[in-house]
Subunit: 253 residues, 2 copies
DNA sequence: AAGTGGTCTAGACCACCCC
DNA sequence: GGGTGGTCTAGACCACTTA
């Protein structure tokens, strides 16, 4: 019954990757490769345990997280099934800047105002539920469509998530894509939206009059464990942008 | 090591409720009752195990699901902490005016400007995908919180859905509730949001200066068969209101 | 060094599904 | 009845935090 921490059996990696994550990666790879087709059944848990050389508890941790990501679903006395491939595009989200640009056939670019590691202020730390002074990566940009300034985006990312950001070109890359590409799962976004008059600095960046209406959107994006990944304030010139979304509601009103 | 399925130790229930759900309920109750205040630390896992008379694996299942629900967060090496209270009641659709009022403990009322049957203009008919001239019920209101004007709401409802509307008091009733009460299922809401300067009429209703930033939200609400039930334009005084929502995304990015 | 969460195991029994 | 997922346990070691 002793837990012998032998060399991980699933992958020949060095160390730090937990077994259940390795198992998850293997399963996901087999699904992606088409080895198990959408809608079909996986081998029984006890069989997968042998194949991956891990315990059932560990295997189930991997399977469960894959359910949360919409890859699998379980059926009590029947088995594990691969979710049919046609997964909808993010339902219930605001259309992102990049998506809007694509829909309208415009070219999204950015002028980077600031892109550096700094320390968190008290307010910022509170938003991230971390100690004040904890290092944060800061990316400030003017976002444009076909060279026309549309919005100013001020984003903050915890330093341990922003590894390698120094070599990323944020004038063309999407911050969401970069974070997601690092393996983080942007699961939830708490959002507030209000209308405000533009202050002098903002008016300068957007080339509008001071006091012009501006759409002020603030988001905190978290992963599945509620860990904050990104905090952003985006201020859109009122007459140059329109947020779009489509909500579904399960019940009541 | 044999699992003796004794009578559940956590709660004196009959049977079917899993132990980890019972544990979850107990923990949630202690938090709700203020026994453990927001931001404070829970007892160590091994201690909770004894208190609840369950194994650590089971306890952690309960704790983990509470994290996903935004009630707790874990800090490696330090402990489990209760999430600050405000992070809990985020709606997964745009929070409605009535919901906002309830959350903030304010009284929502309306001053009805217009409430009558009319015919649709070209633009309105287009929104509803029906022929111009088709009868529409029109409800225009100034919406208030504790007597302070917050927004102007102009809503349109197809006449066949608005049966009996003449006898409804819209100064206190929610349009959503009335429609839902007639047996219609408000399933989906397509929304656009932008910032605009207030025109003279709007400024008069809201008691603000002309040109002040206003949040302009337009929605078309449909039932499960995509049939339009309601079209509304709501314009909020920029410094008196803030839209709130929390988006979830099922998978990747 | 002590305390705390994170991961992992082997084995057991239960509830559900299908033959 | 046999197969499959769902729940549960006791015990072990690792990694991080704090002192």
């Amino acid at each position: 019954m002793t837990t012998e921490r032998t060399t991980p059996a699933v992958l020949p990696s060095e160390y730090p990757e937990p077994l259940w994550m390795q198992a998850k990666a293997v399963l996901r790879a087999r699904i992606a490769s088409g080895e198990v087709s959408p809608g079909s059944r996986l081998p029984p848990e006890r069989e997968l345990c042998q194949m991956l050389a891990i315990s059932r508890v560990t295997l189930r941790k991997a399977l469960t997280t894959l359910v949360e990501e919409g890859v699998l679903r379980s059926a009590h006395g029947r088995g594990w099934y691969v979710t049919s491939a046609e997964r909808k595009e993010w339902p219930n989200t605001l259309e992102s800047f990049s998506e809007t640009a694509r829909r309208m056939g415009l070219l999204p670019t950015s002028r980077v105002l600031r892109c550096e590691l700094g320390t968190s202020t008290y307010d910022e730390a509170e938003a991230f539920q971390m100690a004040p002074g904890t290092p944060l990566y800061r990316v400030d940009r003017v976002r444009m469509l076909n060279e026309v300034p549309i919005a100013v985006d001020e984003s903050l990312v915890p330093a341990d998530i922003a590894v390698g950001f120094d070599s990323v070109d944020f004038s063309t890359r999407s911050l969401y894509d970069v974070i997601a590409g690092s393996g983080f799962h942007l699961a939830q976004a708490d959002t507030t939206i209000e209308a405000r008059p533009a202050d002098a600095e903002l008016a300068g960046h957007l080339d509008i009059e001071v006091g012009t209406p501006v759409l002020d959107m603030r988001q905190i994006v978290r992963d599945g464990t509620q860990r904050p990944l990104l905090s952003s304030v985006i201020r859109y010139a009122g007459d140059r942008y329109r947020l779009r979304t489509s909500f579904s509601r399960s019940a009541d009103a």
